[in-house]
């Protein structure tokens, strides 16, 4: 395929790789050939016949979308060939005979290729005098998607998307001939987290989205390029507004990142109107009630209380929650360490004990895995991450690697992901908290029998007795471990290791995974769940890290930062979020910047916020935490301020504000500058000054370095609570950002208690039976669902689903929450 061939299109010559389709070659010459079924991301289909061109030496016109170029081929498009023009005209006329021509009421009207094509080349009047096909319209194929079969040109882009790209084959072509139609099965709606994409790629108005239905005409919208920050995938989007409100969000194209897809959460989760719980003005607690005050009053109060705490040396805790833009995160880090002088800064909601710092420090300073690496890698090892739920675009890219590139995927964890069903994927199920044992066994195999060169310390670490015990506790057989080790050996430096943020909760696992990547020379990627996390980590919203992944205990690194900030930094590491919260009563003040510990840490977090003597919440909404705060400072939402966002790869993207800010809200960085001023401290007030500082603090890339692996702790069996809880939030859950998203929430999955059929049988539980799950923190009851994709002895309950919140069960002090499971 690497050989080049020369082709002439409309008299212009171009050299393209052999096998390139004529339509793509024409695009390279900026010659547009009209098309409906062709889509560069989908396999050639050749159904609509709109792209017919004349090829020299061919009696009949050929479809440009299915014809690969050959050396010396001479193509003439509609611009120069009467044959092509005539063929395209004929197809267009046929596409219109059954079309309802209802453009004035069609949501696609104004951005419709069929409409454009007809306007440009179509006949003024129809010669068709017969009966049109009539169907009832529209049909709801899911709560989000409406189908109008009369408008459909049967290009099959939607059905091909669902089978080739997303793998949710709930729509298909039914019937045949003139009655052929797109349909979903009656009781099997098209509920896919990627369903909005079929609306965007539909070349006519056959598929429309409920949230945009009749909201605006496409030509009446203002578009702003943006970046979705709801997860760490980093999708480029286009936010379209009408009269200052978001009307819809579209996927924008970036071949390096989201290609041209986004998930439904990113597309449909913008609030329909001003939400009642939106914080729009500064609030201060007076006589137990939060009352609206001026910014000056709120800032003065904060300055007074925080200033006195600072003076008397009372600790100040600063927590962020993964929703900040990079500039805001940096400003917060600078504010916390430089202005408040505290080291108790954390952005993580999980209960890490600090073993990941070395990994993060090295990771932030070295090149990591990218989407492109994944696509070409022969082997991906996926740990602690369920991409479909936590980073949907990563899921699509992995799916593409497996289906189109023939890559292999191994995942190690207690619960199989949706990728396990794909060809070439293999799930190694282990007990929660024992991932390190499995990985150490793999590493041992690679180093000892396979002879992978590593340093002595690593080699010694591998022979620790803890490894074997942990390996035994994992419940994993020898064969899959050997298979993984062999696959890693074969892939070597071309392998990619992806670690989700949840891997940190499994003691030792992140460090072992990192060291494995270093030893192999493989690319490593850390996939956080929240869109702002990577930026916050870089900014140093971490008790042991300074901006750029500098370590707090490194004096030289500290000095670099002190030079930029003009402030002296506490030389000690701070406490993690869990530690800060568990001693909230002794804090001088607690700053919550986009953090909601009362939700993330359930009961424990809520009582911590209550216990803190003075709580400042900088947030978009009146959350469980900000409701309990003493001062609420309204921050601007994702589309309301400009900024930069960094995705899991570490790739940064700038975005502009698309809509007017809500009420009196301010960007987080501006609030922090105001507070600094009130405290009498200098602080950069302009975004470009913050960015300049950030550039100065950027470190030059270094090679990733192995870290000392701690001896992993063996999970202690709990006789009373023999099961281990596996939990994480699903893509569509009862989270703050999703509230008010209407139809989108209708496709959120009904929460179940998922258990292995063997465990269920032992407990006498059948599918659908109510099951009680009880931990030391609380208990919940939900219907049982049986799944063989779960390790024995574990139960999976989604963290935050309406009506069933496992967050209430999670023990913030244990790596794995032990639970009792019984039939309710």
């Amino acid at each position: 395929m690497s050989a080049e061939v020369t082709v002439t299109i409309d008299g212009r010559e171009i050299a393209v790789p052999a096998g390139t389709l004529v339509i793509r070659a024409a695009e390279m010459l900026d010659i547009y050939i009209p098309r409906f079924c062709d889509h560069p991301a989908l396999a050639p289909h050749g159904a609509c016949r709109q792209c017919m061109v004349e090829v020299e030496g061919q009696r009949k016109p050929l479809t440009a979308c299915t014809t690969p170029v050959t050396q010396g081929m001479a193509v003439r498009t509609q611009h120069t060939s009467e044959m092509a023009r005539e063929a395209q005209r004929g197809v267009l006329e046929m596409l219109l005979i059954n079309h309802p021509l209802d453009c004035p009421v069609c949501d696609k009207g104004g951005e419709c290729p069929l409409q454009d094509q007809t306007l440009a080349f179509g006949p003024g009047a129809s010669r068709f005098a017969g009966e049109k096909r009539r169907y009832p319209k529209p049909v709801r194929i899911s709560p989000l998607i409406l189908l109008d079969r009369e408008r459909c040109v049967l290009c099959a882009r939607c059905t091909r998307f669902s089978s080739e790209i997303s793998g949710d084959r709930f729509i298909a072509l039914f019937e045949r001939g003139a009655l052929q139609q797109v349909a979903a099965y009656e009781d099997e709606p098209y509920e896919s987290p990627f369903s909005g994409n079929i609306v965007q790629i539909c070349p006519v108005g056959a598929l429309t989205a409920e949230p945009f239905r009749f909201r605006a005409r496409p030509f009446d919208l203002t578009s702003t390029p943006s970046v979705c920050t709801l997860c760490a995938s980093g999708c480029r989007t286009i936010v379209q507004t009408r009269r200052g409100e978001v009307a819809r969000i579209l996927a924008s194209e970036d071949p390096e990142v989201n290609e041209e897809w986004i998930c439904d959460k990113g597309r449909f989760s913008f609030p329909r109107a001003q939400r009642p719980d939106r914080a729009t003005e500064p609030l201060v607690r007076k006589d137990g009630e939060l009352v609206a005050v001026s910014w000056a009053e709120a800032a003065a109060l904060v300055a007074e209380r925080v200033g006195s705490a600072r003076e008397r040396g009372a600790p100040i805790g600063v927590l962020s929650g993964g929703r900040l833009a990079d500039e805001d995160a940096y400003a917060l880090s600078r504010f916390a360490r430089g202005v408040l002088g505290t080291a108790d800064v954390d952005s993580r909601s999980w209960t890490a004990d600090g073993e990941e710092d070395a990994v993060f420090a090295s990771m932030l300073g070295s090149p990591g895995a990218t989407y492109s690496d994944i696509e070409v890698s022969p082997l991906v090892l996926l740990l602690g991450c369920d991409p479909r739920e936590e980073s949907p675009i990563l899921h699509l890219r992995l799916r593409k690697a497996l289906n189109r590139r023939g890559s292999a995927l191994f995942e190690v964890g207690p619960r199989a992901t949706a990728l396990a069903r794909e060809p070439g994927a293999r799930s190694i199920l282990c007990s929660p908290g024992t991932e390190a044992g499995v990985l150490l066994s793999v590493a041992w195999l690679l180093v000892n029998p396979f002879g992978l060169p590593v340093d002595d310390a690593t080699k010694e670490g591998l022979s620790s007795p803890g490894r074997a015990a942990l390996r035994d506790a994992s419940g994993v057989a020898d064969e899959p471990v050997l298979a993984l080790a062999e696959a890693l050996r074969a892939a070597g430096g071309r392998a990619v290791i992806l670690a989700g943020e949840r891997l940190s909760r499994s003691p030792g696992a992140l460090a072992v995974a990192w060291n494995l990547a270093c030893a192999l020379g493989a690319r490593f990627g850390h996939v956080p769940r929240r869109g702002g996390f990577r930026g916050e980590l870089w900014a140093g919203l971490h008790p042991r890290l300074l901006p750029g992944g500098r370590r707090v205990e490194d004096p030289a690194a500290r000095a670099e930062v002190e030079r930029v900030w003009g402030a002296s930094l506490p030389p000690v590491a701070g406490r993690c979020a869990r530690a800060i919260l568990s001693e909230a009563g002794s804090l001088g003040a607690l700053f919550l910047v986009g953090a909601d510990p009362a939700s993330d840490f359930a009961g424990f977090g809520a009582s911590a916020v209550e216990a803190a003597p003075f709580v400042v919440a900088q947030d978009l909404f009146l959350t469980e935490s900000s409701r309990r705060a003493d001062v609420v400072l309204p921050a601007r939402g994702p589309a309301e301020r400009a900024g930069t966002s960094t995705d899991w790869e570490g790739r940064a993207a700038e975005f502009e504000a698309a809509v007017a800010p809500a009420g009196l809200s301010l960007a987080d960085r501006d609030i922090l500058a105001m507070l600094s001023g009130a405290l009498g401290e200098a602080f950069p007030t302009r975004t470009r000054d913050l960015r300049a500082e950030m550039r100065v603090l950027e470190r030059s890339p270094q090679a990733p370095a192995a870290v000392g692996a701690p001896t992993p702790a063996l999970p202690e069996p709990d006789g009373l609570r023999p099961f281990s809880l596996v939990t994480y939030p699903l893509l569509l859950d009862a989270g703050t950002m999703l509230a008010g998203s209407g139809a989108l929430l209708e496709i959120a999955r009904r929460a179940c208690v998922e258990m292995h059929p063997g465990d269920a049988a032992a407990l006498g539980v059948s599918p659908g039976d109510p099951v009680r799950v009880a931990s030391a923190m609380g208990e919940i009851v939900g219907p049982a669902r049986l799944s063989a994709g779960l390790a024995r002895g574990s139960v999976f309950v989604p963290a935050n689903q309406e009506g069933l919140r496992a967050l209430a069960l999670v023990d913030p002090f244990a790596p794995v929450t032990a639970v009792r499971v019984e039939r309710a």
């Binding site: 209802d102 004035p104 009421v105 009207g109 529209p138 009749f214 605006a216 005409r217």
Partner: protein
């Protein structure tokens, strides 16, 4: 000489005293307009009472003065305003902006919007000069069947 000039002037005055006055008694008396005179807008209904407007917003798009705002919504079996799927939930014409060019009625695909011979656009507040759907639909009597279009 001056006398001659004054007499000539008076003659003009005198002549006009015997002519029919051009002035007519508006608003008591109204003169007919040319059939295609573009006065104030009206929204039309079908004979069965359903609104012709389908909320397509083409009038608003065509308007060079940005005087029209349409907010569309979906008909339901329980609340049907127009035939088909879509209707105008809100329809406003801002007469402080309107330049009576008639491009809006040309753009209308269903002849839902037409123009009447009504021309008196005056009121004492900005709000009253932003005319909503109810008043536009009530303009029916202002000109014959569908008005000029």
């Amino acid at each position: 000489m001056a006398v001659v000039d004054i007499a000539r002037s008076l003659l003009v005055t005198a002549k006009h005293m015997f002519r029919r006055p051009v002035t007519f008694q508006f608003p008591e008396e109204k003169k007919p307009f040319a059939a295609r005179y573009h006065g104030r807008h009206r929204l039309n209904r079908y004979a069965d009472g359903l609104e012709k407007c389908i909320g397509c917003e083409l009038c608003a798009w065509a308007c060079p003065a940005d005087a029209i705002q349409v907010v569309a919504a979906e008909n339901t079996p329980a609340a049907r305003f127009s035939p088909g799927e879509r209707y105008a939930a809100d329809y406003q014409i801002n007469y402080l902006r309107c330049i009576f060019c008639g491009l809006c009625i040309e753009a209308c695909p269903t002849r839902a919007l037409t123009m009447t011979h009504e021309f008196d656009v005056e009121d004492d507040s900005r709000e009253k000069l932003i005319v909503g759907k109810d008043r536009l639909l009530a303009m029916e009597k202002a000109l014959g069947e569908e008005g000029a279009g």
